[in-house]
Symmetry: C3
Subunit: 346 residues, 3 copies
């Protein structure tokens, strides 16, 4: 698919600066842009590369003011990152989606499957499963009994969904993701042995969620573990039983939320972050990497850091002080001596 800068500008409603007739047929990163490709500049860290890139076209933010000559044709838009996303999505959408049912696969007689499915070989679809339209189920995927899945979902290879769970519309579940495994609940007895607490609830994933590779969502003890609309989970995210994650909250890799905690909407978790069980976290809270939330966060939009966490700017000040703490210890020792002298003790 060959497109001119002018055609692209129309697609993403941008303004061309430079030669509108130059054509591209692929994308590239700005730091290793090649002729005949389109690239973009969004993160200011990469600004230096726009003056050297060999990409033919670069999408930039409206606010970008070049300080030197840019040889590529630029397309100016309000938000370069979104414009590129839109363009790449158009490219993906122009490609035909796999459809049909590969053999051997296992589809229970009581399963109801919508129009235009793709069901890969070795996929397993249990009893009374309901699947909407335009759903792609890649090979080696397991869908347990009584699961309900909406329209336009993609389940990549090896996804496992336990019985009774529910997935909305327009979700993507990456390879190896597990939905509905038992919550981690045990009651200790007098011999320090553990009795399993059966986990009778399920997991409900609302519309427009994305679940990373090998991520795991445990089913509720009773009721549901819930991902609200638009939640995005990276790889290796652990969502424990009875957790609720609010709308459009984004959780980076290796983060976990312990049992029965309720996370607000529009929160952001850095990597390796975690929240203890039975807490609430307000809307818009941001947690840096390795942040461990040990008590409820009530302030909307709070930025947290450290383990156990406190407010991020205070944490940063403390951490900087920690670096010079050994010096402080020495200074105090010197002061002690001086005071002794002043008191005439030495």
């Amino acid at each position: 698919m060959e497109l001119s800068a002018k055609q692209i500008a129309e697609l993403i409603q941008g303004e061309v600066v430079g030669n509108p007739d130059v054509t591209i047929n692929n994308v590239s990163k700005i730091e290793d842009g090649k002729p005949g490709t389109i690239s973009f500049l969004s993160n200011p860290k990469y600004t230096q590369y726009i003056y050297q890139t060999k990409a033919s076209v670069v999408i930039v933010n409206n606010t970008f003011e070049p300080e030197k000559k840019v040889s590529a044709t630029m397309i100016r838009v309000p938000d370069a990152y979104s414009a590129v996303a839109k363009l790449m999505q158009m490219y993906l959408d122009s490609k035909p989606r796999k459809t049909g049912v590969e053999q051997p696969s296992f589809v229970s007689e009581t399963a109801i499957i919508g129009d235009f499915p793709y069901i890969g070989a070795f996929a397993y679809i249990g009893e009374n499963v309901k699947i909407g339209n335009n759903v792609s189920i890649y090979p080696n995927t397991y869908i347990g009994d009584n699961v309900t899945i909406g329209d336009n979902n993609i389940l990549y290879a090896g996804v496992k969904i336990y019985h009774n769970c529910v997935v909305g519309d327009n979700c993507i579940l990456h390879a190896g993701a597990v939905v509905g495994s038992d919550g981690f609940g045990f009651a200790p007895d007098e011999n320090n042995e553990y009795t399993k607490i059966p986990q009778l609830g399920n997991v409900v994933i609302e519309d427009n969620c994305e679940i990373g590779a090998n991520t795991a969502l445990d089913r509720a003890t009773m009721g549901s573990t819930v991902l609200k609309k638009g939640v995005k989970l990276d790889n290796f995210v652990q969502i424990a039983h009875n957790v609720e994650i609010g709308e459009n909250t984004v959780i980076a890799a290796m983060s976990g939320v312990a049992g029965s905690t309720v996370i607000g909407k529009n929160c952001m978790f850095g990597g390796h972050a975690g929240v203890v069980g039975h807490l609430t976290v307000a809307d818009g809270v941001k947690m840096g990497a390795y942040t461990g939330i040990a008590s409820s966060v009530k302030k909307e939009g709070a930025v947290m850091r450290g383990t156990p966490a406190f407010e991020a700017r205070a944490f940063t000040r403390s951490w900087i002080s920690l670096k010079s703490l050994p010096d402080l210890v020495k200074e105090v020792r010197v002061l002690k001596q001086e005071i002794k002298k002043l008191k005439g003790e030495e």
Copy 2:
């Protein structure tokens, strides 16, 4: 299945307070209890809800003394949590277990399989595998050559057990768990390239263990990596080669134990905890979330915190002091000035 409060009280040997004839046919969480359901109160954080719940029956601890009117029928027991577990297990046990062998599946001719198996489609059972009675093997599961599995085990979808490993009785392995992958062992050469150390041992999982979704247990270099009886591992737990985990130790999600370390019995790991290789950890040691044990813990029942870890109460005091460290730095600066003045230097 409809049961009266009186019938339930008999099942769990509790005492009814209120109407013994009210009936339930489902369970619910106390905070959103519905008429016709049974709920429970164990964690004191939820005490407030017992005065409002619409659940018909609530199981409570003997020691619970209501401060207001409770409209639900209460059943008093020594340990509400255990009683609920027992009740839920009875409910689960009343449901028929899947049995039979779905097709296509792959069962090696040399495999020996006990009575009443469930073998899901696309399950793979290798050469000389021995499987006990009442074992459920869900779809897309892989059992390598020479694996031995006892009675009453559940292997959920996509479990992978490498050759020569051993699983006892009454274990549950959740979806995506891996047992017996190679330990991470390499010998560097003079060019900083690595030669793989072959991993010739296996993994032995004793009776009554539970292994979380996508958890991984590496096989030993020589000998066995061992989970003793009653060990419970949450999701994403990493057990490295030649590790031994003592009886009834419980490890929360995203925790890891590095190679050749021996963990005592009845230990508890919070989430994201970790122990360095070649250490020993005494019985009953507790580690908070994100605790990183960097040297052996010899004191039984020690409570550890921080990375590198020290005793939890000391850690908490230090961490609180860290919050005000920037203030301390300022105070010391002031003291310095004052001493200079006292010394007549300013």
Copy 3:
């Protein structure tokens, strides 16, 4: 296979100390060595065991000088650990490798597969896949369209490789590993909803890499996520989109590298370590467990610790000071009082 100490010494070019005719037919750990087995001593922590071991033969470093009588026959070599690795590898290589194609499996008509493959049941090989010689593909493995895989690779059960990815020669991918899942990229809109950034690139794994169980490597947004030659990743390692990991870098379990970061060669990550996105880390950098790198590390061979990380020795000093920080706070309070007194204020 029965071998004498003398025969083994010839295989690994070592020098026999003791009876050269004693024979072994198995390996054991030095701490529970059995007659008729060979063991080794490399980590000095285990030195005590050589005086008690019942192993018939022990491989030791040239530099080892016994302080007491050693009853086992010793074989002295420059590097005991490497020698054992070599020996164990010889043992493994003496065993026949599985070959052939088990049924049912799914091999696309357009796939090209080299000589001597092992393709397990329920393995899926997509369109235009190219696979080299002597490749083992265990059951329930998924290889997406247009994937290229070199010679002598082992893909254990349940590995999932997305479309367009590339694997070199002599690699091992452990069970449940995911290669080529979408990078975690979203552009927020004015309503705090997220638009997915399509991930059009791939993953390239060069020769001699090993990928741990359930580890995940995300495909690049554009271009490639790259593991250079000889990279070793443990279980649960997260490699984000557009990351590049340098030659012979070794990453322990539960560590992660965020998007677009470039890691040098010969680096070492302890467990639970992490690096923020868009950074560079110099060659030979070592990170302790739980190290969180928050800014680029330019110094080759730097040793880092803490989150956010600083130089390891400085971190250790600070952390030791942190333990006594509550005492320091008290001391400063006392000094304040004394100064007040000296000033005549009290």
